[in-house]
């Protein structure tokens, strides 16, 4: 049964567009695509809108060059390519929560070249370490909510917001509980499975997803994975949905026991603390969440968080996925390396693009694993 649940997560990812189209037909409700996890999905759920994350396909890019200069990251180019190819033709609108220049460019190119009814950019503060960020974001969210109300033709009430907050909190909380099973000496799930669970949550109705995660939580304690976990690895990066890479690395005698990226733990690590001021509470959650490095200054709080995760989940080493041209993440590699090294966790950076040269990466990852486990086994 557990295998069926994981298969369902996989199916949702592989057939995400079919799912969305069927959902729309079944519910007669709107779907909004978002690019970055700084979009407060709570408000979209409150408005009875399905938020789905726009991601790439990892196919060689062929259509984005006229719209985005090729020195911008593969996520932004590949995501736009999906829109240009008509893969997201069921979207009623797009929303972006300010994170980086790259995704902002995708948002604008989409707004200008791919027909949608609604396009909205939320100016999420970049400085999340200033005390003024939460009050400012609260006002930004009020403006966003007002704009949504005008578009859908009805008020989003406090009770709607409570529902949106509950939906998101429940889903994040359930997935965090699943993450606990990754701490075990013999983890109950692989890194790939964890990634597929989180990724699929960004693509389907959270209520439906949560039901399945609940079921997984009931059944996971009895699961015995018929594999040697091998080396305990951490994966760190920005957006990372390269499932083939995860699988390949885990087939080399390793298990990703924890991750620090926005298609993993960063997406679900904290909840909205409900309060009378609903929008204020949502704003607080997005200001206090594990930050994207683009917002993490002057202190390196994400680096400290990554160190905590590595310790908590007993990682022996970390693969750092550097999405080529992603400056905020690239900038943090040396401080991250130093911090993890100080607790005895070596890192190995790999530069990712739309496609991944697995042949070369395999040799490099194997060599890294050998440095973690010693060479004795080889001879």
């Amino acid at each position: 049964m557990v295998e069926e649940i994981f298969q369902k997560f996989r199916d949702w990812i592989d057939n995400r567009h079919e799912y969305a189209k069927e959902w729309k037909e079944k519910t007669n409700r709107k779907i909004i695509g978002y690019f970055c996890t700084y979009v407060p999905e709570e408000i979209l759920y409150a408005a009875d809108i399905l938020p789905v994350r726009i991601l790439g396909s990892h196919e060689p890019p062929t259509v984005t060059e006229p719209y985005i200069f090729a020195m911008f990251c593969h996520l932004c180019r590949d995501s736009l390519a999906q829109g240009l190819k008509g893969k997201f033709d069921y979207l009623d609108g797009i929303v972006e929560g300010q994170s980086c220049l790259h995704l902002r460019q995708t948002f604008n190119a989409w707004r200008l070249h791919i027909p949608v009814d609604y396009a909205y950019y939320i100016y999420v503060p970049h400085s999340v370490q200033t005390p003024h960020a939460t009050p400012y974001l609260t006002q930004e969210l009020a403006k966003f909510k007002h704009s949504l109300e005008e578009w859908i033709g009805r008020k989003v009430t406090d009770s709607d917001l409570d529902r949106g907050i509950r939906t998101m909190n429940r889903n994040r909380e359930l997935m965090r509980k699943i993450y606990e099973y990754r701490k075990l000496d013999n983890p109950k799930i692989t890194g790939l499975e964890a990634m597929e669970m989180v990724l699929s949550s960004q693509m389907v109705d959270k209520e439906e997803h949560s039901k399945l995660v609940e079921q997984l939580l009931r059944e996971l304690p009895n699961r015995k994975l018929n594999r040697n976990p091998g080396t305990r690895l951490m994966i760190i990066g920005s957006e990372d949905d390269d499932r083939i890479f995860m699988q390949n690395v885990e087939n080399l005698g390793a298990t990703f026991v924890i991750d620090e990226h926005c298609t993993g733990s960063r997406y679900l690590w904290n909840n909205v603390s409900p309060s009378e001021d609903r929008l204020g509470a949502i704003a607080e959650r997005y200001v206090d969440r594990v930050p994207c490095p683009s917002k993490d200054w002057p202190e390196f709080t994400r680096v400290k968080h990554a160190v905590n995760l590595a310790q908590e989940f007993k990682a022996q080493g970390a693969l750092v996925i550097q999405n080529k041209f992603c400056d905020p993440h690239g900038i943090e590699i040396p401080p991250l390396k130093e911090a993890l090294k100080s607790i005895g966790v070596p890192i190995y950076p790999l530069e990712f693009d739309v496609t991944v040269p697995w042949g070369q990466f395999r040799t490099r990852v194997e060599a890294f694993l050998e440095t973690l486990t010693g060479l004795e086994d080889l001879f």
């Binding site: 020195m71 460019q105 200008l112 400085s127 003024h132 006002q139 490095p293 002057p298 400056d327």
Partner: protein
């Protein structure tokens, strides 16, 4: 063929000396009992001015560009940052700057390299580009590894751009509040008492300097153009180093008078002017000779949205033309007035528009094309700066749709390994020939 008279700028040497002193003053600040701070060219430099007359800054982008001009030193800086584990795809200015810290060397305006990178007493930065806050966060981290703890304050200004109507009050307030806190922070980290009068002076200076630069750029609408872009780089830079300083205002006043005189007398920057272009984003600093190559075809580059609007402040008039932004009704009298005034002034910065709205930048470029009588636009797809290259492909679309000939070329403002000089020149001359130009006799 008609030849225009040319003359060297009279204030050229003064510009050189101002820039030279700037880097020396920062270096020697402590000897004079002064304070030095580091931050970006766009930082609210008038705020630290309230700490006293002996406060000296080192702005990061111009320093990165200075390094880029001296290719040997740039190469060493890049090697140092790459050896430290930073990706080579990051902002080229930032890598130059970090390289200077890692090598523990400091370069002066004339290329003289000094041992020991002078660490700032504090960092005062602002953040609109993904790299701005991170740049100095790492600079601080690198200094700390060398045993120097540098406090850092960074103001988030990424609240959007006022395209059709002013920004909402809560957005202005968000920046204002950060600056207000920043004043207290400055007092705390320096142990100095803050002088609001100096702040008001500095804010007024900045407003005047950034207006004056726009006035000077406007004079380049004349035919022949009194200034060419290559020369303007040495002039606009004062606004990126010391826009809040009285020396900057005085220099721009003198320069404006001289350029007005050149226009009156028909003095040209390029004697053979017959085709007028503008560029976009920072140039590849190590290869400024491309501008001299253009002159061989009678082409003058009049500037760019970058040279006009990085520091210059502009507005749209009711008739739709682009012109110098109006002076506020009166000089600020209090800290609150000064901080609010500089926030309201700064959020209109033309070079911030394209961060959010490609249409806004296209509109400004088209205004320049029309008002400055421009024949073609050379778009530098700059691999070294994602901040100024963001949406550049959309700008290309907008210009082409408006019927403007566009020459896109790829390069890097600060990393010579990413600029192909012969290839670019070959394509550029083909472009000029397609515009009906022929190479003039040497």
């Amino acid at each position: 063929m008609k030849k225009f008279p040319t003359e060297q700028l009279k204030c050229w040497n003064e510009a050189k000396n101002l820039r030279k002193s700037y880097y020396e003053n920062y270096l020697n600040a402590h000897e004079k009992g002064g304070v030095r701070w580091a931050g970006g060219a766009w930082s609210f430099s008038s705020i630290p001015a309230g700490l006293g007359e002996d406060v000296y800054s080192l702005t990061g982008e111009p320093y990165g560009a200075t390094i880029a001009f001296f290719k040997d030193f740039t190469a060493k800086c890049h090697e140092a940052t790459e050896a430290a584990g930073f990706p080579r795809t990051l902002c080229a200015y930032m890598r130059n700057y970090w390289g200077s810290i890692l090598l523990d060397k400091y370069i002066l305006a004339d290329g003289k390299v000094i041992d020991e990178h002078p660490a700032p007493d504090f960092i005062w930065q602002d953040h609109i580009c993904c790299s701005h806050g991170k740049w100095y966060q790492v600079a601080r981290w690198l200094e700390e590894k060398k045993g120097k703890k540098v406090p850092m304050y960074c103001v988030d200004v990424s609240v959007g751009y006022p395209m059709d109507k002013p920004l909402e009050e809560y957005k202005i307030n968000y920046i204002f509040q950060q600056l207000n806190d920043g004043v207290e922070w400055l007092e705390k980290v320096t142990g100095r008492e803050y002088d609001d009068k100096l702040l008001c002076e500095a804010v007024w200076n900045e407003i005047n300097a950034t207006r004056l630069w726009a006035d000077i750029c406007t004079l380049n609408q004349a035919v022949p153009a009194p200034l060419d872009e290559k020369s303007m780089y040495s002039l606009y830079v004062m606004g990126t180093l010391m826009k809040h300083r009285p020396e900057c205002v005085a220099f721009y006043e003198k320069l404006k008078a001289e350029v007005e005189d050149r226009v009156r007398r028909g003095i040209a920057a390029v004697a053979n002017e017959r085709f007028r272009v503008i560029t976009d984003t920072q140039p590849p600093w190590g290869f400024l000779r491309i501008f001299r190559e253009m002159e061989k075809y009678g082409v003058v580059s009049l500037g760019s949205l970058y040279t006009y609007g990085l520091i210059g402040m502009w507005k749209y008039r009711p008739d739709g033309t682009w012109a110098t932004k109006d002076l506020p009704p009166r000089k600020p009298q209090t800290r609150e007035e000064a901080l609010r005034m500089i926030v309201e002034w700064t959020v209109d910065r033309p070079e911030w528009a394209h961060f959010y709205l490609p249409e806004a930048k296209t509109k400004m470029i088209l205004s320049i094309v029309k008002q400055w009588k421009v024949d073609a636009v050379l778009l530098h797809y700059n691999r070294g700066c994602e901040g100024l290259s963001v949406h550049i492909a959309e700008n290309r679309h907008g210009l082409v749709e408006a019927g403007v000939p566009v020459f896109p070329f790829e390069g890097n403002m600060g990393d010579e390994r990413e600029f192909d000089l012969p290839g670019t020149l070959a394509r550029l001359t083909t472009f000029f020939e397609s515009m009906g130009l022929k190479k003039l006799r040497e």
